[in-house]
Symmetry: C2
Subunit: 203 residues, 2 copies
């Protein structure tokens, strides 16, 4: 059995692997994301660099214990009208984010970094998905916020929860909107690391 380590504490990301019946281990990296955000103004570069930093952080921990494992790391951000939007710190900020996104199209960007503890190779990539929201009233946004779904999610929504009611369409990878572009992780592990996720044993 090959070990896959998800370098993320995101419940949404681990659920993607669980729903795909792929056993993983979770190890959250300790990275100062704010430092990166201060230095990097380009959203694609930011999510790629953050994913890379997270993967390398976990790789160092794994190497210390001389284990052989694949490491998958990611970072997600919303890009809207040239601005970068991350997680909301409180319900009021979440309201302001959704008030901006409602009725509009935004891009959901996820940077991914994949490496293997015993291999010097690291593959860094990203995926962008277009998401269109229906127009919501202030009252509807406030009702939505009561669900609590906004907590810990870039852009203050979770596509598979109550936000399904106001997501008109997406263009691109749906799993990317949840937190990980699974088809891209499948292709990178298969083509660059000789690990086929469709062929590994299920949990």
């Amino acid at each position: 059995m090959k070990n896959i380590i998800l370098a993320s504490k995101s419940i949404d990301r681990s659920k993607l692997f669980k729903d795909a019946k792929i056993p993983i281990e979770i190890l959250g990296p300790d990275i100062d994301e704010e430092e990166f955000k201060k230095k990097i103004g380009d959203p694609i570069k930011l999510v790629r660099e953050l994913a890379k930093a997270k993967a390398l952080y976990i790789k160092n921990i794994i190497l210390e214990s001389k284990r052989d494992a694949f490491i998958v790391a990611a970072d997600t951000i919303i890009e809207f009208n040239g601005d970068m939007i991350g997680k909301a710190k409180d319900e009021q900020t979440a309201f302001q984010i959704l008030k901006r996104l409602t009725g509009n199209v935004h891009n959901l960007l996820t940077g991914i970094a994949i490496t293997r503890s015993i291999d010097s190779k690291i593959v860094v990539d990203y995926e962008s998905t277009v998401v269109k929201f229906l127009e919501l009233s202030d009252k509807e946004i406030r009702c939505y916020l009561k669900s609590g779904d906004w907590k810990g999610r870039a852009g203050a929504y979770a596509i598979t929860e109550k936000a399904s009611l106001f997501i008109e369409y997406i263009q691109g990878s749906f799993s990317n909107v949840i937190g990980l572009p699974m088809h891209k992780i499948f292709l990178i592990l298969k083509n660059q690391f000789n690990l086929n996720l469709l062929e590994i044993k299920e949990i």
Copy 2:
């Protein structure tokens, strides 16, 4: 508390409501779908007529008990190169379906019908989402089939489960691919039946 009845035994459809924290009751209609398929050659007309028949079947049951309830019914089919593809009856048929869809684009069509037991109005609509699969080898398809995800699903896959590994992109409503275009149900109930799903009490 307003009652919403989902006229479908599909676990995927009831999960969409559950994940959106909307309380529903489930009542499966007893409709001979094969009869409709023999008579109707157009896929959009077929899913619309089947959804309508399911809604009216449940409406009659509800009316007998003089209850006031909203009824949501749906039917899903895959359209590929002019052919209609439904659920696979066994693993071999599932293999043949996926062998056709792999590497290609197909349309996932869901017909919906919404009515209220005490109201003569019935709104019938449909949603179409484009889905693109990665190219898979026969071995990969066979490994996928072992997950059992193909059972009971139009097109022999479930987007939120293991198929996330080979769905390259979608264009349109993601919840439609799961089984119900939730944003359209939200809009119809709000605009045509004065019921706002964002404002109802959560479960």
